[in-house]
Amino acid sequence: MTELTSDTLAAYAGFQPAIAPPQPTRGARMVRLMLSQPLGTLGAIVLLIMVLAAIFAPYIAPYDPTAGDPGALYKPPSALYWLGTDAFGRDILSRLIFGARISLIVGFGASILGVVVGTAIGVTSGYFGGWYDSVAQRVMDAMLAFPMLLLALAMAAALGSSVHNVIIALAMPIVPRAARISRASTLVLKTTTFIEASRAIGCSNFRTIAQHILPNTFAPLLVIATAYLGLAIVQEAALDYLGAGIQEPQPSWGLMMSGSATSLALTAPWIVLFPGIAITLVVLASNLLGDAIRDVLDPKLQRTSL
Protein backbone atom coordinates (compact mmCIF):
# COMPACT_ATOMS: atom_id res chain seq x y z
CA MET A 1 0.00 0.00 0.00
CA THR A 2 1.67 3.18 -1.16
CA GLU A 3 1.38 6.25 0.97
CA LEU A 4 -0.69 9.05 -0.46
CA THR A 5 1.99 11.70 -0.50
CA SER A 6 1.82 14.68 -2.77
CA ASP A 7 4.34 12.93 -5.03
CA THR A 8 2.17 9.91 -5.65
CA LEU A 9 -0.92 12.08 -6.01
CA ALA A 10 0.97 14.08 -8.62
CA ALA A 11 1.96 10.90 -10.38
CA TYR A 12 -1.67 9.80 -10.47
CA ALA A 13 -2.77 13.15 -11.81
CA GLY A 14 -0.02 12.93 -14.43
CA PHE A 15 1.87 16.13 -13.78
CA GLN A 16 4.77 17.35 -11.71
CA PRO A 17 4.04 20.15 -9.27
CA ALA A 18 5.97 23.30 -10.10
CA ILE A 19 7.33 23.58 -6.57
CA ALA A 20 7.82 20.21 -4.89
CA PRO A 21 7.06 20.34 -1.17
CA PRO A 22 10.05 19.25 0.95
CA GLN A 23 9.94 15.46 1.29
CA PRO A 24 12.37 13.41 3.35
CA THR A 25 14.45 11.29 1.02
CA ARG A 26 14.40 7.51 1.32
CA GLY A 27 17.76 7.61 3.05
CA ALA A 28 16.59 10.18 5.57
CA ARG A 29 13.49 8.12 6.35
CA MET A 30 15.68 5.06 6.84
CA VAL A 31 17.93 6.95 9.24
CA ARG A 32 14.93 8.21 11.20
CA LEU A 33 13.54 4.66 11.40
CA MET A 34 16.86 3.33 12.60
CA LEU A 35 17.18 6.06 15.22
CA SER A 36 13.70 5.24 16.54
CA GLN A 37 14.76 1.59 16.97
CA PRO A 38 18.35 1.75 18.23
CA LEU A 39 18.36 -1.80 19.64
CA GLY A 40 16.91 -3.24 16.46
CA THR A 41 19.54 -1.40 14.44
CA LEU A 42 22.25 -2.81 16.70
CA GLY A 43 20.83 -6.31 16.17
CA ALA A 44 20.77 -5.81 12.41
CA ILE A 45 24.39 -4.60 12.41
CA VAL A 46 25.58 -7.58 14.50
CA LEU A 47 23.71 -10.00 12.21
CA LEU A 48 25.17 -8.29 9.16
CA ILE A 49 28.70 -8.62 10.55
CA MET A 50 28.07 -12.31 11.25
CA VAL A 51 26.76 -12.86 7.71
CA LEU A 52 29.76 -11.09 6.22
CA ALA A 53 32.14 -13.10 8.43
CA ALA A 54 30.42 -16.31 7.28
CA ILE A 55 30.64 -15.35 3.60
CA PHE A 56 34.27 -14.28 3.72
CA ALA A 57 35.32 -16.96 6.22
CA PRO A 58 38.27 -18.30 4.16
CA TYR A 59 39.76 -14.78 3.98
CA ILE A 60 39.43 -13.78 7.62
CA ALA A 61 39.87 -17.08 9.52
CA PRO A 62 43.51 -17.28 10.65
CA TYR A 63 43.70 -21.10 10.39
CA ASP A 64 42.12 -24.05 8.59
CA PRO A 65 39.03 -24.94 10.70
CA THR A 66 39.37 -28.71 10.25
CA ALA A 67 43.14 -29.22 10.27
CA GLY A 68 44.53 -29.54 13.78
CA ASP A 69 48.07 -28.91 14.95
CA PRO A 70 49.13 -31.95 17.03
CA GLY A 71 51.68 -29.75 18.77
CA ALA A 72 49.04 -27.30 20.02
CA LEU A 73 46.36 -29.31 21.84
CA TYR A 74 44.19 -27.52 24.46
CA LYS A 75 46.13 -24.25 24.09
CA PRO A 76 44.60 -21.40 26.10
CA PRO A 77 43.75 -18.12 24.35
CA SER A 78 46.96 -16.36 23.31
CA ALA A 79 48.29 -13.97 20.66
CA LEU A 80 48.80 -16.97 18.38
CA TYR A 81 45.37 -18.56 18.98
CA TRP A 82 43.05 -15.75 20.02
CA LEU A 83 40.39 -18.03 21.45
CA GLY A 84 42.56 -21.07 22.14
CA THR A 85 42.58 -24.52 20.53
CA ASP A 86 40.52 -27.68 21.02
CA ALA A 87 41.33 -31.35 21.71
CA PHE A 88 42.68 -31.78 18.15
CA GLY A 89 44.71 -28.60 18.17
CA ARG A 90 42.24 -26.80 15.92
CA ASP A 91 41.88 -23.03 16.24
CA ILE A 92 38.60 -22.18 18.01
CA LEU A 93 38.27 -18.74 16.39
CA SER A 94 38.60 -20.19 12.88
CA ARG A 95 36.06 -22.89 13.71
CA LEU A 96 33.67 -20.25 15.08
CA ILE A 97 33.99 -18.17 11.90
CA PHE A 98 33.37 -21.18 9.63
CA GLY A 99 30.70 -22.45 12.03
CA ALA A 100 28.77 -19.22 11.47
CA ARG A 101 28.13 -20.49 7.94
CA ILE A 102 26.32 -23.61 9.13
CA SER A 103 24.52 -21.79 11.91
CA LEU A 104 23.24 -18.98 9.69
CA ILE A 105 22.37 -21.19 6.71
CA VAL A 106 20.42 -23.57 8.94
CA GLY A 107 18.82 -20.73 10.92
CA PHE A 108 17.67 -18.70 7.92
CA GLY A 109 16.88 -21.84 5.91
CA ALA A 110 14.72 -23.43 8.60
CA SER A 111 12.81 -20.29 9.52
CA ILE A 112 12.14 -19.35 5.89
CA LEU A 113 11.17 -22.90 4.90
CA GLY A 114 8.96 -23.32 7.97
CA VAL A 115 7.20 -20.00 7.45
CA VAL A 116 6.70 -20.55 3.69
CA VAL A 117 5.26 -24.06 4.09
CA GLY A 118 3.23 -23.03 7.14
CA THR A 119 1.82 -20.01 5.31
CA ALA A 120 0.87 -22.11 2.29
CA ILE A 121 -1.05 -24.48 4.56
CA GLY A 122 -2.54 -21.77 6.77
CA VAL A 123 -3.69 -19.43 4.00
CA THR A 124 -5.25 -22.17 1.87
CA SER A 125 -6.97 -23.84 4.81
CA GLY A 126 -8.33 -20.51 6.04
CA TYR A 127 -9.43 -19.50 2.54
CA PHE A 128 -11.07 -22.72 1.38
CA GLY A 129 -12.31 -24.01 4.74
CA GLY A 130 -14.37 -27.20 4.75
CA TRP A 131 -12.95 -30.64 5.35
CA TYR A 132 -9.52 -29.63 4.04
CA ASP A 133 -9.35 -26.99 6.78
CA SER A 134 -10.47 -29.48 9.45
CA VAL A 135 -7.89 -32.08 8.46
CA ALA A 136 -5.10 -29.50 8.17
CA GLN A 137 -5.97 -28.06 11.56
CA ARG A 138 -5.94 -31.47 13.28
CA VAL A 139 -2.54 -32.25 11.75
CA MET A 140 -1.22 -28.84 12.89
CA ASP A 141 -2.65 -29.45 16.40
CA ALA A 142 -0.85 -32.78 16.55
CA MET A 143 2.43 -31.16 15.50
CA LEU A 144 1.97 -28.41 18.10
CA ALA A 145 1.66 -31.02 20.84
CA PHE A 146 5.32 -31.95 20.40
CA PRO A 147 7.88 -29.91 22.29
CA MET A 148 9.80 -28.16 19.47
CA LEU A 149 13.17 -29.77 20.11
CA LEU A 150 11.59 -33.23 20.32
CA LEU A 151 9.93 -32.98 16.90
CA ALA A 152 13.16 -31.67 15.38
CA LEU A 153 15.17 -34.42 17.06
CA ALA A 154 12.89 -37.20 15.80
CA MET A 155 12.90 -35.74 12.29
CA ALA A 156 16.68 -35.30 12.26
CA ALA A 157 17.14 -38.90 13.39
CA ALA A 158 14.70 -40.08 10.74
CA LEU A 159 16.24 -38.11 7.89
CA GLY A 160 19.90 -38.58 8.72
CA SER A 161 22.42 -35.85 9.38
CA SER A 162 23.26 -33.41 6.62
CA VAL A 163 22.81 -29.66 6.43
CA HIS A 164 19.65 -29.78 4.33
CA ASN A 165 18.08 -32.53 6.48
CA VAL A 166 18.74 -30.49 9.62
CA ILE A 167 17.05 -27.52 7.92
CA ILE A 168 13.97 -29.66 7.16
CA ALA A 169 13.94 -31.09 10.69
CA LEU A 170 14.09 -27.63 12.28
CA ALA A 171 11.49 -26.22 9.89
CA MET A 172 8.96 -28.86 11.00
CA PRO A 173 8.08 -27.32 14.38
CA ILE A 174 7.80 -23.85 12.78
CA VAL A 175 5.23 -25.00 10.19
CA PRO A 176 2.20 -25.37 12.52
CA ARG A 177 2.99 -22.10 14.32
CA ALA A 178 3.21 -20.15 11.06
CA ALA A 179 0.12 -21.95 9.75
CA ARG A 180 -1.95 -20.96 12.77
CA ILE A 181 -1.06 -17.28 12.49
CA SER A 182 -1.52 -17.02 8.71
CA ARG A 183 -4.83 -18.90 8.92
CA ALA A 184 -6.10 -16.47 11.54
CA SER A 185 -5.22 -13.44 9.43
CA THR A 186 -6.73 -15.06 6.32
CA LEU A 187 -10.01 -15.62 8.16
CA VAL A 188 -10.10 -11.93 9.07
CA LEU A 189 -9.17 -10.83 5.52
CA LYS A 190 -11.86 -13.08 4.00
CA THR A 191 -14.58 -10.93 5.56
CA THR A 192 -13.21 -7.65 4.18
CA THR A 193 -14.82 -5.90 1.23
CA PHE A 194 -11.74 -5.82 -0.97
CA ILE A 195 -11.58 -9.63 -1.04
CA GLU A 196 -15.29 -9.68 -1.81
CA ALA A 197 -14.66 -7.17 -4.58
CA SER A 198 -11.82 -9.22 -6.03
CA ARG A 199 -14.13 -12.23 -6.17
CA ALA A 200 -16.94 -10.17 -7.62
CA ILE A 201 -14.85 -9.02 -10.56
CA GLY A 202 -14.08 -12.67 -11.29
CA CYS A 203 -10.56 -13.14 -9.94
CA SER A 204 -9.57 -16.80 -9.68
CA ASN A 205 -8.95 -18.23 -6.21
CA PHE A 206 -5.24 -18.35 -6.96
CA ARG A 207 -5.19 -14.70 -7.98
CA THR A 208 -7.18 -13.62 -4.94
CA ILE A 209 -4.81 -15.45 -2.63
CA ALA A 210 -1.58 -14.43 -4.36
CA GLN A 211 -2.48 -10.80 -5.07
CA HIS A 212 -4.74 -9.82 -2.22
CA ILE A 213 -4.36 -12.12 0.77
CA LEU A 214 -0.64 -12.97 0.85
CA PRO A 215 0.62 -9.35 0.73
CA ASN A 216 -1.60 -8.55 3.70
CA THR A 217 -0.34 -11.43 5.82
CA PHE A 218 3.24 -10.40 5.19
CA ALA A 219 3.79 -8.27 8.31
CA PRO A 220 2.97 -10.90 10.96
CA LEU A 221 4.85 -13.54 8.97
CA LEU A 222 8.01 -11.44 8.79
CA VAL A 223 7.76 -11.00 12.54
CA ILE A 224 7.51 -14.73 13.26
CA ALA A 225 10.24 -15.53 10.71
CA THR A 226 12.69 -13.32 12.61
CA ALA A 227 11.44 -14.64 15.95
CA TYR A 228 12.07 -18.23 14.86
CA LEU A 229 15.46 -17.39 13.33
CA GLY A 230 17.04 -17.23 16.78
CA LEU A 231 15.16 -20.27 17.98
CA ALA A 232 16.24 -22.34 14.97
CA ILE A 233 19.88 -21.40 15.60
CA VAL A 234 19.66 -22.50 19.24
CA GLN A 235 17.95 -25.76 18.33
CA GLU A 236 20.44 -26.48 15.59
CA ALA A 237 23.19 -26.19 18.18
CA ALA A 238 21.19 -28.45 20.50
CA LEU A 239 20.76 -31.14 17.81
CA ASP A 240 24.47 -31.02 17.02
CA TYR A 241 25.32 -31.19 20.71
CA LEU A 242 23.17 -34.32 21.09
CA GLY A 243 24.83 -35.88 18.04
CA ALA A 244 21.74 -35.84 15.82
CA GLY A 245 22.77 -32.96 13.60
CA ILE A 246 25.91 -31.87 11.77
CA GLN A 247 28.78 -34.35 12.18
CA GLU A 248 32.52 -33.97 12.78
CA PRO A 249 34.84 -32.69 11.42
CA GLN A 250 32.52 -29.91 10.26
CA PRO A 251 32.83 -26.83 12.46
CA SER A 252 29.39 -26.40 14.01
CA TRP A 253 28.84 -24.31 17.15
CA GLY A 254 26.75 -26.97 18.88
CA LEU A 255 29.19 -29.74 18.05
CA MET A 256 32.12 -27.70 19.37
CA MET A 257 30.61 -27.83 22.87
CA SER A 258 29.83 -31.52 22.91
CA GLY A 259 32.88 -32.71 24.83
CA SER A 260 32.58 -33.64 28.49
CA ALA A 261 32.20 -30.39 30.36
CA THR A 262 33.26 -32.04 33.63
CA SER A 263 36.69 -32.93 32.30
CA LEU A 264 37.09 -29.73 30.25
CA ALA A 265 36.41 -27.47 33.24
CA LEU A 266 39.93 -27.70 34.61
CA THR A 267 41.82 -28.28 31.36
CA ALA A 268 40.20 -26.13 28.67
CA PRO A 269 36.99 -24.27 29.66
CA TRP A 270 37.33 -21.96 26.62
CA ILE A 271 36.26 -24.83 24.36
CA VAL A 272 32.79 -24.69 25.96
CA LEU A 273 32.75 -20.96 26.65
CA PHE A 274 33.23 -19.32 23.25
CA PRO A 275 30.78 -21.23 21.02
CA GLY A 276 28.03 -20.47 23.57
CA ILE A 277 28.89 -16.77 23.52
CA ALA A 278 28.69 -16.85 19.70
CA ILE A 279 25.22 -18.48 19.83
CA THR A 280 23.98 -16.08 22.50
CA LEU A 281 25.22 -13.10 20.50
CA VAL A 282 23.58 -14.11 17.22
CA VAL A 283 20.31 -15.09 18.93
CA LEU A 284 20.28 -11.85 20.91
CA ALA A 285 20.86 -9.89 17.70
CA SER A 286 18.05 -11.64 15.85
CA ASN A 287 15.66 -11.23 18.82
CA LEU A 288 16.41 -7.49 18.99
CA LEU A 289 15.89 -7.15 15.25
CA GLY A 290 12.68 -9.19 15.46
CA ASP A 291 11.28 -7.04 18.29
CA ALA A 292 12.05 -3.88 16.32
CA ILE A 293 10.40 -5.23 13.16
CA ARG A 294 7.35 -6.16 15.23
CA ASP A 295 7.15 -2.72 16.81
CA VAL A 296 7.42 -0.99 13.45
CA LEU A 297 5.06 -3.24 11.48
CA ASP A 298 2.41 -4.05 14.02
CA PRO A 299 2.55 -2.64 17.53
CA LYS A 300 -0.50 -4.63 18.56
CA LEU A 301 0.91 -8.01 17.63
CA GLN A 302 1.62 -10.26 20.60
CA ARG A 303 5.13 -11.51 21.11
CA THR A 304 5.38 -15.01 19.67
CA SER A 305 6.29 -17.50 22.34
CA LEU A 306 10.01 -17.92 22.27
Binding site: L150, A157, V272
Partner: protein
Protein backbone atom coordinates in the same frame (compact mmCIF):
# COMPACT_ATOMS: atom_id res chain seq x y z
CA UNK B 1 -19.44 -26.34 31.20
CA UNK B 2 -19.74 -30.11 31.01
CA UNK B 3 -20.48 -30.06 27.28
CA UNK B 4 -17.51 -27.81 26.70
CA UNK B 5 -15.25 -30.06 28.72
CA UNK B 6 -16.42 -33.12 26.76
CA UNK B 7 -15.81 -31.33 23.49
CA UNK B 8 -12.33 -30.22 24.52
CA UNK B 9 -11.45 -33.72 25.72
CA UNK B 10 -12.66 -35.16 22.40
CA UNK B 11 -10.49 -32.71 20.44
CA UNK B 12 -7.57 -33.53 22.72
CA UNK B 13 -8.08 -37.22 22.03
CA UNK B 14 -8.10 -36.64 18.25
CA UNK B 15 -4.90 -34.59 18.62
CA UNK B 16 -3.24 -37.39 20.56
CA UNK B 17 -4.27 -39.89 17.90
CA UNK B 18 -2.59 -37.63 15.32
CA UNK B 19 0.50 -37.43 17.55
CA UNK B 20 0.60 -41.24 17.81
CA UNK B 21 0.35 -41.53 14.03
CA UNK B 22 3.15 -38.99 13.44
CA UNK B 23 5.41 -40.63 16.02
CA UNK B 24 4.74 -44.06 14.55
CA UNK B 25 5.48 -42.98 10.99
CA UNK B 26 8.59 -40.97 11.86
CA UNK B 27 10.06 -43.80 13.92
CA UNK B 28 9.50 -46.24 11.05
CA UNK B 29 11.32 -43.98 8.58
CA UNK B 30 14.49 -43.84 10.68
CA UNK B 31 17.30 -45.43 8.70
CA UNK B 32 18.93 -48.55 10.09
CA UNK B 33 16.02 -50.54 11.47
CA UNK B 34 15.94 -52.01 14.95
CA UNK B 35 16.69 -55.55 13.77
CA UNK B 36 19.97 -54.38 12.25
CA UNK B 37 20.84 -52.46 15.41
CA UNK B 38 19.97 -55.37 17.71
CA UNK B 39 21.77 -58.15 15.88
CA UNK B 40 24.87 -56.06 15.36
CA UNK B 41 24.64 -56.56 11.60
CA UNK B 42 27.16 -53.81 11.01
CA UNK B 43 29.90 -56.41 11.52
CA UNK B 44 28.68 -58.33 8.48
CA UNK B 45 28.45 -61.74 10.18
CA UNK B 46 24.66 -61.81 10.35
CA UNK B 47 22.94 -63.35 7.33
CA UNK B 48 19.84 -61.94 5.68
CA UNK B 49 17.80 -64.93 6.97
CA UNK B 50 18.78 -64.30 10.56
CA UNK B 51 17.94 -60.62 10.13
CA UNK B 52 14.55 -61.57 8.73
CA UNK B 53 14.00 -63.81 11.74
CA UNK B 54 14.71 -60.96 14.17
CA UNK B 55 12.32 -58.72 12.21
CA UNK B 56 9.68 -61.43 12.46
CA UNK B 57 10.20 -61.75 16.21
CA UNK B 58 9.80 -58.02 16.61
CA UNK B 59 6.72 -58.09 14.39
CA UNK B 60 8.11 -55.35 12.14
CA UNK B 61 7.76 -57.43 8.97
CA UNK B 62 3.95 -56.99 9.04
CA UNK B 63 2.10 -54.26 7.09
CA UNK B 64 2.35 -50.80 8.68
CA UNK B 65 -1.42 -50.52 9.22
CA UNK B 66 -1.49 -53.79 11.17
CA UNK B 67 1.51 -52.69 13.23
CA UNK B 68 -0.09 -49.35 14.04
CA UNK B 69 -3.44 -50.91 15.00
CA UNK B 70 -1.60 -53.40 17.18
CA UNK B 71 0.44 -50.70 18.88
CA UNK B 72 -2.56 -48.38 19.35
CA UNK B 73 -4.67 -51.10 21.04
CA UNK B 74 -1.81 -51.92 23.39
CA UNK B 75 -1.28 -48.25 24.20
CA UNK B 76 -4.96 -48.10 25.11
CA UNK B 77 -4.14 -50.61 27.85
CA UNK B 78 -1.04 -48.57 28.86
CA UNK B 79 1.19 -51.27 27.41
CA UNK B 80 3.97 -49.62 25.43
CA UNK B 81 5.88 -52.81 24.73
CA UNK B 82 9.41 -53.71 25.79
CA UNK B 83 12.38 -51.42 25.30
CA UNK B 84 14.87 -52.89 22.87
CA UNK B 85 17.71 -51.24 24.74
CA UNK B 86 16.98 -51.92 28.41
CA UNK B 87 14.92 -55.07 27.88
CA UNK B 88 12.35 -54.02 30.47
CA UNK B 89 8.78 -52.85 29.78
CA UNK B 90 8.74 -49.24 28.58
CA UNK B 91 6.11 -48.26 31.14
CA UNK B 92 8.41 -49.48 33.95
CA UNK B 93 11.36 -47.50 32.57
CA UNK B 94 9.17 -44.44 32.35
CA UNK B 95 7.70 -44.72 35.85
CA UNK B 96 11.17 -45.23 37.32
CA UNK B 97 12.46 -42.09 35.57
CA UNK B 98 9.39 -39.91 35.96
CA UNK B 99 10.05 -38.73 39.57
CA UNK B 100 13.38 -37.14 38.63
CA UNK B 101 11.86 -35.24 35.76
CA UNK B 102 8.85 -34.14 37.81
CA UNK B 103 11.19 -32.90 40.53
CA UNK B 104 13.19 -30.84 38.01
CA UNK B 105 9.98 -29.41 36.50
CA UNK B 106 8.62 -28.39 39.91
CA UNK B 107 11.95 -27.00 41.15
CA UNK B 108 12.60 -25.04 37.96
CA UNK B 109 9.07 -23.60 37.95
CA UNK B 110 9.52 -22.54 41.59
CA UNK B 111 12.77 -20.82 40.63
CA UNK B 112 11.27 -19.24 37.48
CA UNK B 113 8.03 -18.02 39.07
CA UNK B 114 9.51 -17.21 42.46
CA UNK B 115 12.16 -14.93 40.99
CA UNK B 116 10.60 -14.01 37.65
CA UNK B 117 7.35 -12.51 38.92
CA UNK B 118 8.97 -10.31 41.62
CA UNK B 119 11.65 -9.21 39.14
CA UNK B 120 8.97 -8.29 36.61
CA UNK B 121 6.88 -6.38 39.17
CA UNK B 122 9.95 -4.51 40.40
CA UNK B 123 10.97 -3.71 36.84
CA UNK B 124 7.50 -2.38 35.96
CA UNK B 125 7.22 -0.35 39.15
CA UNK B 126 10.68 1.19 38.61
CA UNK B 127 10.25 1.46 34.83
CA UNK B 128 12.90 3.70 33.28
CA UNK B 129 15.27 3.62 36.25
CA UNK B 130 18.68 1.97 36.16
CA UNK B 131 17.39 -1.01 38.15
CA UNK B 132 14.81 -1.60 35.42
CA UNK B 133 17.46 -1.27 32.71
CA UNK B 134 19.77 -3.76 34.40
CA UNK B 135 16.94 -6.26 34.86
CA UNK B 136 15.85 -5.79 31.24
CA UNK B 137 19.40 -6.38 29.99
CA UNK B 138 19.84 -9.52 32.10
CA UNK B 139 16.53 -10.99 30.96
CA UNK B 140 17.04 -10.31 27.26
CA UNK B 141 20.45 -12.00 27.38
CA UNK B 142 18.88 -14.81 29.43
CA UNK B 143 16.34 -15.36 26.66
CA UNK B 144 19.08 -15.61 24.04
CA UNK B 145 21.48 -17.95 25.87
CA UNK B 146 20.83 -21.63 25.03
CA UNK B 147 19.79 -23.53 28.17
CA UNK B 148 22.22 -26.39 27.56
CA UNK B 149 25.09 -23.92 27.40
CA UNK B 150 23.93 -22.44 30.71
CA UNK B 151 23.97 -26.01 32.02
CA UNK B 152 27.50 -26.52 30.72
CA UNK B 153 28.63 -23.24 32.29
CA UNK B 154 27.12 -24.30 35.63
CA UNK B 155 29.07 -27.57 35.42
CA UNK B 156 32.26 -25.66 34.56
CA UNK B 157 31.73 -23.42 37.57
CA UNK B 158 30.87 -26.26 39.95
CA UNK B 159 33.92 -28.28 38.93
CA UNK B 160 36.20 -25.28 38.99
CA UNK B 161 35.18 -23.91 42.37
CA UNK B 162 33.83 -26.95 44.23
CA UNK B 163 35.54 -29.91 42.51
CA UNK B 164 32.06 -31.16 41.72
CA UNK B 165 31.59 -34.45 39.93
CA UNK B 166 28.47 -35.94 38.41
CA UNK B 167 26.64 -38.06 41.01
CA UNK B 168 27.12 -41.78 40.48
CA UNK B 169 23.80 -42.54 42.14
CA UNK B 170 20.82 -40.29 41.75
CA UNK B 171 18.59 -40.34 44.82
CA UNK B 172 14.83 -40.43 44.43
CA UNK B 173 13.15 -37.79 46.58
CA UNK B 174 11.35 -40.27 48.85
CA UNK B 175 14.58 -42.05 49.77
CA UNK B 176 16.67 -39.04 50.68
CA UNK B 177 14.86 -35.73 50.10
CA UNK B 178 17.78 -33.48 50.93
CA UNK B 179 20.32 -35.31 48.77
CA UNK B 180 17.82 -35.50 45.94
CA UNK B 181 17.02 -31.80 46.05
CA UNK B 182 20.68 -30.83 46.14
CA UNK B 183 21.50 -33.18 43.26
CA UNK B 184 18.73 -31.81 41.06
CA UNK B 185 19.05 -28.17 42.10
CA UNK B 186 21.59 -27.14 39.45
CA UNK B 187 19.89 -28.94 36.55
CA UNK B 188 16.69 -27.17 37.63
CA UNK B 189 18.45 -23.79 37.59
CA UNK B 190 19.67 -24.49 34.04
CA UNK B 191 16.15 -25.46 32.93
CA UNK B 192 14.43 -22.61 34.77
CA UNK B 193 16.64 -19.63 33.83
CA UNK B 194 15.08 -19.16 30.40
CA UNK B 195 11.58 -19.38 31.84
CA UNK B 196 12.62 -16.95 34.56
CA UNK B 197 13.68 -14.41 31.93
CA UNK B 198 10.51 -14.88 29.92
CA UNK B 199 8.20 -14.63 32.94
CA UNK B 200 10.03 -11.53 34.19
CA UNK B 201 9.65 -9.78 30.82
CA UNK B 202 6.02 -10.74 30.43
CA UNK B 203 5.18 -9.75 33.99
CA UNK B 204 6.84 -6.39 33.40
CA UNK B 205 4.85 -5.60 30.28
CA UNK B 206 1.56 -6.80 31.81
CA UNK B 207 2.18 -4.84 35.02
CA UNK B 208 3.12 -1.69 33.11
CA UNK B 209 -0.18 -1.87 31.30
CA UNK B 210 -2.15 -2.47 34.50
CA UNK B 211 -0.33 0.28 36.41
CA UNK B 212 -1.46 2.75 33.75
CA UNK B 213 -5.16 1.97 34.31
CA UNK B 214 -7.55 4.50 35.79
CA UNK B 215 -8.44 2.41 38.82
CA UNK B 216 -4.79 2.40 39.87
CA UNK B 217 -4.86 6.21 39.83
CA UNK B 218 -8.05 6.04 41.87
CA UNK B 219 -6.43 3.68 44.35
CA UNK B 220 -3.46 6.03 44.71
CA UNK B 221 -5.75 9.03 45.00
CA UNK B 222 -7.59 7.29 47.83
CA UNK B 223 -4.27 7.42 49.67
CA UNK B 224 -3.54 3.70 49.69
CA UNK B 225 0.01 2.68 50.39
CA UNK B 226 2.13 2.04 47.30
CA UNK B 227 2.64 -1.55 48.39
CA UNK B 228 -1.09 -2.11 48.57
CA UNK B 229 -1.62 -0.51 45.16
CA UNK B 230 1.05 -2.60 43.46
CA UNK B 231 0.37 -5.95 45.05
CA UNK B 232 -3.32 -5.84 45.91
CA UNK B 233 -4.73 -3.85 43.00
CA UNK B 234 -2.29 -4.23 40.14
CA UNK B 235 -0.71 -7.67 40.53
CA UNK B 236 -4.04 -9.27 41.41
CA UNK B 237 -5.48 -8.05 38.12
CA UNK B 238 -2.39 -8.89 36.11
CA UNK B 239 -2.24 -12.40 37.57
CA UNK B 240 -4.48 -13.99 34.97
CA UNK B 241 -2.36 -13.45 31.84
CA UNK B 242 0.74 -14.30 33.86
CA UNK B 243 -0.77 -17.63 34.93
CA UNK B 244 -1.77 -18.40 31.34
CA UNK B 245 1.76 -17.73 30.17
CA UNK B 246 3.22 -19.95 32.88
CA UNK B 247 0.85 -22.74 31.87
CA UNK B 248 1.78 -22.61 28.22
CA UNK B 249 5.45 -22.40 29.11
CA UNK B 250 5.32 -25.93 30.54
CA UNK B 251 5.51 -27.22 26.95
CA UNK B 252 8.55 -25.04 26.22
CA UNK B 253 10.06 -26.26 29.46
CA UNK B 254 10.20 -29.81 28.09
CA UNK B 255 12.46 -28.57 25.30
CA UNK B 256 15.08 -27.32 27.78
CA UNK B 257 14.50 -30.36 29.97
CA UNK B 258 15.30 -32.86 27.21
CA UNK B 259 18.72 -31.44 26.57
CA UNK B 260 19.60 -30.32 30.09
CA UNK B 261 19.04 -33.83 31.47
CA UNK B 262 21.51 -35.06 28.87
CA UNK B 263 24.02 -32.37 29.86
CA UNK B 264 23.86 -33.35 33.55
CA UNK B 265 23.20 -37.06 32.79
CA UNK B 266 20.09 -37.01 35.00
CA UNK B 267 18.32 -40.38 34.55
CA UNK B 268 15.00 -38.70 33.74
CA UNK B 269 12.51 -38.79 30.90
CA UNK B 270 14.42 -36.23 28.84
CA UNK B 271 17.56 -38.32 28.67
CA UNK B 272 15.42 -41.41 28.02
CA UNK B 273 13.66 -39.88 25.03
CA UNK B 274 16.94 -38.66 23.48
CA UNK B 275 18.65 -42.04 23.91
CA UNK B 276 15.61 -43.94 22.61
CA UNK B 277 15.40 -41.83 19.47
CA UNK B 278 19.13 -41.90 18.78
CA UNK B 279 19.35 -45.69 19.39
CA UNK B 280 16.26 -46.37 17.23
CA UNK B 281 14.63 -48.03 20.24
CA UNK B 282 11.22 -47.37 18.77
CA UNK B 283 8.90 -49.01 21.35
CA UNK B 284 10.51 -46.77 23.98
CA UNK B 285 10.65 -43.68 21.74
CA UNK B 286 7.04 -44.03 20.62
CA UNK B 287 5.82 -44.51 24.18
CA UNK B 288 7.72 -41.66 25.79
CA UNK B 289 7.07 -39.16 22.98
CA UNK B 290 3.36 -39.94 23.15
CA UNK B 291 3.35 -39.45 26.92
CA UNK B 292 5.21 -36.12 26.69
CA UNK B 293 2.76 -34.91 24.02
CA UNK B 294 -0.17 -36.04 26.16
CA UNK B 295 1.18 -33.98 29.06
CA UNK B 296 1.38 -30.92 26.77
CA UNK B 297 -2.19 -31.43 25.48
CA UNK B 298 -3.62 -31.96 28.96
CA UNK B 299 -1.58 -29.02 30.30
CA UNK B 300 -3.04 -26.67 27.68
CA UNK B 301 -6.53 -27.95 28.47
CA UNK B 302 -5.93 -27.36 32.18
CA UNK B 303 -4.82 -23.78 31.51
CA UNK B 304 -7.97 -23.12 29.48
CA UNK B 305 -10.20 -24.49 32.21
CA UNK B 306 -8.31 -22.62 34.92
CA UNK B 307 -8.76 -19.44 32.90
CA UNK B 308 -12.53 -19.94 32.91
CA UNK B 309 -12.43 -20.56 36.63
CA UNK B 310 -10.40 -17.43 37.41
CA UNK B 311 -12.04 -15.02 34.99
CA UNK B 312 -15.84 -15.24 35.01
CA UNK B 313 -16.00 -13.18 31.80
CA UNK B 314 -14.50 -15.97 29.71
CA UNK B 315 -16.75 -18.64 31.19
CA UNK B 316 -18.62 -20.47 28.47
CA UNK B 317 -22.23 -21.43 28.16
CA UNK B 318 -22.36 -24.60 26.09
CA UNK B 319 -19.82 -23.54 23.47
CA UNK B 320 -16.53 -21.76 23.12
CA UNK B 321 -16.50 -18.18 24.35
Amino acid sequence: MFGYLAQRLATGFVTLFGVALIVFLVMRVIPGDAAVMMSGAGSGVVSQEELQQVRHQLGIDRPLVVQFADWATHVGKLDFGTSLRTGSPVIEDISRRFPYTLEIVVLSMIIAVGLGVPAGVLSAWLAGTWIDRILQTITIVGLAAPSFWIGLLIILGLVFFFHWSAPLFWRPIWVDPLASLSQLFWPSVAVGLRQLALIARMTRSIMREVLGEDYIRTARAKGLSERRVVFRHALWNGALPIITLIGFEIAALFGSLIITESVFSVPGLGQYVVQSILDRDYPAAQGIVLILAAIVVLGNLAVDLLYGLLDPRTRVQGGRA
